[in-house]
């Protein structure tokens, strides 16, 4: 296996752009990544694209306009973890010697998405979804258990959202992001108690791209070598298959595996980006990533350790809660965010002296929390 390095990152603006196509957003991100890497499009030996609920070959439509042609462009689906799975596929191919340099690209336009017109169908063979389970309500059942076992309150969950928005306003890519208060979050429209609408991510349009390559290739273009030390994607037991309803089995396993591959532990991490589609989810992930002992997720949140400037800032980009969530772009974007911190280029939200970072994504089918996919990427300087 060869070592894999990050050569370039790029993203489009994140927001509501009903007038822009997915290809247009993807093109912006891909172009930005090429610029950042300082290489010409013809250098790319593969593009691993991803889009959800889109037309056939929509991933491939992103890149011809920037001069990428005549190479492999597979489209990879893994629900919300699709973008991260594209990075994983590219990482494997660079590590295995299939390609020396390639791009992973995630783009989604929720405004143009089929999802906008048609709610995703329930899984017929899941009794839960036929009996009224929805995605927010699955996480609400989990939040209830946190309230029962750790004394969490709705204000704690609101605090996650407030923290995300505080970071988001510092991120130029987060368009239309405003600070919110705990009271605003608690009093916003109830979705599935205790989850209110400001504890849920918005549907957003956006794209992100990353260019990975071998060490030899990277050294020709940059002196800032950032290694993608581990890339793990596992599918396994989801939230509702767990006895305590406060852990995602595949998330825990994937993290364990990634720490092993990268040769680092949770206490080596300087910065973490994670899937916070619902505020209460963040607490589960703290524990699954072993940022704190099991059962102490709420305490970790309350300590402020995961806020900007804390011991281990989580979602310094603003996360899905403030940036919104174009499902496949998010999984690539949050890896790019970690890269920014390791390069010391994250501006006002920079984590000082960041050397090791982790980006995590969770993918669930539209209505199913029985099986979930977890993607973990660990980056080191």
């Amino acid at each position: 296996m060869r070592e894999v390095y990050v050569l370039g990152i790029g993203q489009s603006a994140f927001g509501a752009f009903p007038q822009r196509s997915v290809a247009n957003l993807g093109c912006e991100a891909a172009g930005a990544a090429l610029n950042d890497a300082g290489i010409e499009a013809f250098r790319l030996q593969g593009v691993y694209a991803n889009q959800q609920y889109s037309d056939m070959m929509a991933g491939q439509a992103n890149v011809p306009d920037i001069g990428v042609t005549g190479i492999e462009i597979p489209k990879i689906d893994n629900a919300d973890a699709g973008g991260a799975s594209a990075v994983w596929q590219l990482w494997r191919d660079v590590a295995a010697g299939v390609v020396d340099v390639g791009m992973a690209l995630g783009a989604d336009s929720m405004a143009a998405s089929l999802l906008e017109k048609m709610p995703p169908p329930a899984f017929e063979d899941e009794l839960e979804s036929t009996l009224g389970m929805t995605m927010p309500s699955g996480f609400a059942l989990s939040a209830r258990r946190l309230m029962e076992t750790q004394g969490a309150t709705i204000e704690d969950f609101a605090r996650v959202s407030v923290k995300a928005h505080d970071a988001g306003v510092l991120n130029p890519a987060a368009q239309g992001c405003n600070r919110v208060t705990i009271e605003q979050v608690v009093k916003s429209e109830m979705i599935s108690d205790p989850i209110t609408v400001l504890q849920c991510c918005r549907r957003t349009d956006g794209a992100a791209a990353i260019i990975l390559c071998t060490r030899a290739f990277a050294r020709r273009y940059t002196t800032k070598l950032i290694q993608l030390a581990a890339s793990v994607v596992l599918t396994g037991d989801g939230l509702i298959r767990q006895k305590h309803l406060t852990s995602i089995g595949s998330g825990y396993q994937a993290a364990r595996h990634a720490y092993e591959v990268a040769g680092v532990g949770p206490y080596d991490l300087d910065v973490v980006e994670m899937h916070d589609a619902f505020a209460c989810e963040e607490i589960l992930h703290y524990e699954d990533l072993e940022l704190c002992p099991r059962g102490e997720g709420i305490a970790l949140l309350r300590s402020g350790a995961t806020s900007l400037g804390g011991r281990i800032p989580v979602n310094p980009s603003g996360g899905l809660l403030s940036l919104g969530h174009p499902p496949n772009a998010s999984g690539v974007r949050n890896i790019c965010e970690v890269v920014l911190h390791l390069r010391d280029e994250a501006g006002e939200r920079q984590t000082p002296n960041a050397m090791v970072g982790l980006a995590q994504m969770i993918g669930s089918s539209a209505a199913g929390l029985r099986t979930q996919t977890a993607a973990i990427h660990i980056l080191t300087v």
Binding site: A122, L141, E148, E189, S192
Partner: protein, 313 residues
């Protein structure tokens, strides 16, 4: 349009041989002196996507070749119900497969729920479901003579499968003598949310005899230890609330707000279901609840469905 115009649709999914059935019937009708226009609709997926084969039959030349008001409809998949239903004439004949298309919307039509695919399987191959359906359609509609259809089947059947196809056609005729009247009831009986999960007023769960893991519904295989010795147990009515939420906003479900949750049974099984309580603010983790099995308020496509829920004791 001329009074003798009859429209037929064979609806199902790609790969079921609907086009072949339609062609056989068109040949048989043409041999009997009728004028027939045949058309089809299908999705880009060659197998598994929704697919229709339509016939417009007339004594004179067919004035418009596409189906506009269907007199006779054969349904071999639930996918085909939705696109065909708006075109259905009042009083139309509807033949549906009991397994592949178990639910039909209510309405003014003659319903025949027949075990077409099961009959084909019993004959040796599910692939002749289309021919069984053809037999049932000819027998019920009397649209053309049985000899003509049999001749057309003999002409069209793939080599080596002639006997199977002729047997399938005859089995299709035979279904009517067995099931007529019985299957033609105006309202289907209520059916459980899923077969085999309820017995009387109890839930049927399974306990792995190897590792003692407990499941509802009873699985074929223990996902914990991969053992296949799963003992069936019936759960009592008493249970305890493990977690709950009240759903206020969700486009896909009606009757908002509604409460749902997980309960724990003393047998070690956790079960999800609706919580039937007057005031959701009284819900507490750990409170005792009782299982009820009965008609569910929200059902799929007109058929009554039996489901479970948990009520305060």
């Amino acid at each position: 349009m001329s009074g003798s115009r009859i429209e037929m649709r064979l609806g199902g999914t790609g790969g079921q041989g609907l086009l072949l059935s339609a062609k056989i019937l068109a040949d048989a009708l043409a041999a009997g002196g009728k004028r027939v226009a045949q058309s089809q609709t299908y999705e880009p997926t060659s197998r598994g996507g929704f697919c229709n084969a339509d016939l417009v039959i007339s004594d004179a030349e067919v004035d418009f070749p596409l189906a506009t008001a269907i007199d006779q409809l054969v349904l071999l998949d639930r996918l085909a119900v939705k696109p065909s239903w708006p075109l259905l004439k009042p009083g139309a004949l509807v033949i549906a497969d009991t397994r592949l298309c178990p639910e039909l919307p209510a309405g003014d039509y003659r319903r025949y729920h027949l075990p077409l695919s099961r009959t084909a399987l019993e004959l040796g191959s599910e692939r002749v479901t289309n021919i069984v359906a053809l037999g049932a359609l000819v027998a019920l509609s009397g649209i053309c003579g049985r000899e003509q259809v049999e001749q057309a089947v003999r002409a069209e059947a793939p080599r080596g499968f002639l006997d199977l196809n002729v047997d399938a056609l005859k089995a299709g005729y035979g279904l009517l003598t067995q099931e007529d009247g019985l299957a033609n009831s105006p309202e289907p009986p209520a059916r459980p949310l899923r077969d085999g999960i309820y017995r009387g007023a109890a839930l049927v769960a399974g306990i792995c005899q190897n590792c003692k893991a407990a499941y509802f519904p009873k699985p074929e295989l223990c996902v914990n230890c991969h053992g296949d010795d799963i003992k069936e147990i019936e759960l009592g009515a008493e249970c305890v609330l493990f977690s709950f939420t009240t759903v206020h906003t969700e486009a896909a479900h009606s009757g908002l707000p509604y409460s749902i949750g997980y309960v724990d049974f003393p047998e070690g099984v956790r079960v999800f279901g609706p919580l039937d309580v007057e005031d959701p603010s009284n819900l507490r983790v750990g409170m005792p609840l009782r299982l009820e099995i009965g008609l569910m308020q929200h059902d799929g496509a007109g058929a009554s469905i039996i489901g479970h829920r948990f009520v305060a004791t």
